[in-house]
Symmetry: C2
């Protein structure tokens, strides 16, 4: 039997969110939260639109996911996000006790691994899913921005 709901399937949904951010002139990062193969929350970076540094894709998705579930904790949930979370988002994920984090591209400068942010002991991490696509959308954004300056 073919399993349609694999990590790539949901990362493509996160990439669609990143594309929505790009279309609004935002740094293109997207996220979805999944439980039992169902997307319960989506988010994309809105820091410019909302003039709010806290409006990262993951933060929107965590808030929306908890609202959907009616509880603070994202137990049995998986966050798919196109870019490795930063300190703030990893810190929020720590509080959420989320079960799994799956990310696409690494962030060598501001990612939680480089910064040493601690995740919750219950949380498992998978990285590198659709890494090329997830990196490409960000790299193209910054290349275009540099060429405009």
């Amino acid at each position: 039997m073919i399993e349609p709901y694999d990590h790539e399937y949901f990362m493509k949904k996160a990439l669609q969110e990143a594309q929505t951010a790009l279309d609004r002139g935002e740094i293109p990062v997207g996220a979805v939260i999944v439980t039992q193969n169902r997307i319960i929350a989506k988010g994309h970076n809105l820091t410019e639109t909302l003039t709010d540094v806290t409006a990262h894709a993951e933060m929107q998705a965590i808030t929306a996911g908890a609202s959907f579930l009616g509880g603070k904790y994202l137990k049995d949930c998986t966050l798919y996000v196109t870019l490795e979370p930063c300190q703030m988002c990893a810190g929020a994920l720590y509080w959420s006790q989320i079960s799994n984090i799956v990310y696409g591209a690494s962030d060598e400068h501001r990612g939680y691994l480089k910064m040493g942010t601690q995740l919750h002991p219950k949380t498992k991490v998978i990285s590198g899913i659709l890494e090329e696509e997830c990196s490409a959308i960000i790299n193209e954004f910054f290349a275009r921005r540099r060429s405009l300056n």
Copy 2:
């Protein structure tokens, strides 16, 4: 000349926010953001009310402060918060490039110092302002909660 607007003055305002949180049954943490001796944003912990782990006092205040200023960065601003920020809030403060953080009580377990979260190089920190009052309100909350269980 007496200077009425000192660190204790604004920490008392943050403590009033913590009291508002306590009155709603929330872990009592409060915050205000000040620029040029003027409070431009307030926040108190609302994680239970909003069923949202991201709804810490500092996060509310950062979002409100940036909204007031009409820009993402909290330049020339000081955050007063009753409890040492956690990883998530310190990560948000990093992105905000806030000039000063003044906190009351330390958080030996989940505070950003213990967790190793990095603040922005531009940010200066002062701790221990009204430490006793800031610790007392939290300690009483947890003592009461334990006695009810």
